[in-house]
Symmetry: C2
Subunit: 246 residues, 2 copies
DNA sequence: CTACGGTGTGTGGTCCTACCACACAAGCTA
DNA sequence: TAGCTTGTGTGGTAGGACCACACACCGTAG
């Protein structure tokens, strides 16, 4: 077993034993090095991994923001992992889109009408109406809107996945919108669809909401010229040399 | 931006530009340190992160297994991340089970009847019949069987998620089986259900397969005493002090 | 000429030490 | 009393040293 893994192994033990929980502060790097009988460099490698996985957050100085604190941010791990794997073309964009479709229709069908996340979603739609700052700003809010829907379904894991999935193909989506013939018309249509989806969720018509989401997403990709269904989108779109970096 | 992130940033650029791909070998740590203008310690921290995310694999010595090589193993990232987040109780077991149900029914519905993964699945079922090495061996093969189904659906991402989801709650499942009144009877039933699922997939009846998978999974949790549906399983089951470590 | 064995070289793995920037807290000073 | 200085502990980074490993090369013995 590699030395730096002693840190995550130790943390897992402490968590299981209930001696540590989210919000707890880990011992200082020097202290932990001595405690685990390894060098500080190894401790640091271990904490870097935990940080990348979204398990801890490290901060310098002193005070509440300082030290290494246990957080709970699964999205962080998914985020960076998906980005890199999509970039390496090991993860086809097609698979990501397909998965997104699956998770998102599920979320729409299971979203609780009285979830506070829906209020946030409504605010986002208002913002999208007020500000007309082009595709980029729109996509940003669009992404947040969809994530809010996922959260309304009350599943932390699916919410996190949703957000990361969006992030990992954000650049791809951006390129798609750039090729659109009439952004104004598309944006109008997307906004109308958003309203309809939200309304369906709020009135408890989950099945309808799921169907609306499906056609919303598939419609976008179809209009952007990625063939009829998601499963026909290019597998290697992100690997071609010269493409903007993901 | 933290220094060690220079490594993943650089890698992402190289991947996007097509100068690196899966299977490529990264420069040595010392060379990369000089090239990026950072210390070797920082390079190592960055590499550790990439390794944890399943993007690269590091090996000592020389030869084909040596050096830092770009791999493509999204499951690795999901695996460790989910384990720790479940351990920290930030990720309720309930959410994991729910997600598993979603992904798995989808996979069963979309599995291609002529996928080579199904042959592997069949072999696993044979093994489960031949060897009767108690719940542990059974669960191991059971897990592989379900992952094989996911792979037959042809979505790398969902396959990886499936596997990691199983892994993250493996210890939990193990405890459930331990509390079962009659393992022999349960195991017989599960095996019959497996056969039925595989048969449905092989004959192209995706909808049937999905329904069988759903009742297969829900039935198991019900029998194990976790209320009627997955969404009622305990949220904190893995955090209780004294429980076996996850 | 062939087969064996030592050695060279480059790899990641680990450790140690030193120094830096930061942020708060305590204490001193005007 | 208000403000500044200093102290202390934190993570962040750098550089150097040594180790174990695994292959490739080359000299030597047969």
């Amino acid at each position: 077993m590699r030395t730096h893994q002693a840190v995550s192994a130790w943390l897992e033990q402490e968590l299981a034993a209930g001696r540590l929980a989210i919000g707890s502060r880990l011992p200082g790097e020097r202290a932990m090095a001595e405690q685990l009988g390894i060098s500080r460099a190894s401790v640091r490698e271990g904490t870097r991994v935990l940080e990348a996985l979204g398990v801890v957050r490290a901060g310098v100085g002193s005070g509440p923001q300082a030290g290494t604190v246990i957080t709970g941010n699964p999205a962080l791990a998914l985020d960076s992992a998906l980005r890199l794997h999509v970039a390496s073309a090991h993860l086809p964009v097609r698979d990501v889109v397909e998965t997104r479709l699956l998770l998102e229709t599920w979320a729409a069908a299971h979203a609780s009408p009285d979830s506070p996340a829906l209020a946030r979603a409504a605010l986002l739609l208002d913002e999208m109406d007020r500000h007309d700052d082009g595709p980029d700003g729109f996509l940003e809010r669009d992404s947040l809107f969809h994530v809010a829907l996922a959260e309304a379904a009350g599943n932390v894991l699916i919410g996190a996945m949703m957000g990361s999935l969006r992030g990992s193909i954000a650049a791809y989506t951006q390129r798609l919108t750039a090729g659109l013939p009439d952004w104004g018309a598309t944006s109008d249509r997307l906004r109308r669809e958003h309203r309809a989806i939200l309304e369906a969720v709020l009135s408890g018509r989950g099945g309808t909401a799921a169907e609306l989401v499906r056609s919303h997403i598939e419609g976008f990709y179809r209009e952007a010229g990625v063939a009829q269904d998601a499963s026909a989108s290019p597998r290697q779109a992100t690997l071609s040399p010269g493409m903007p970096e993901i």
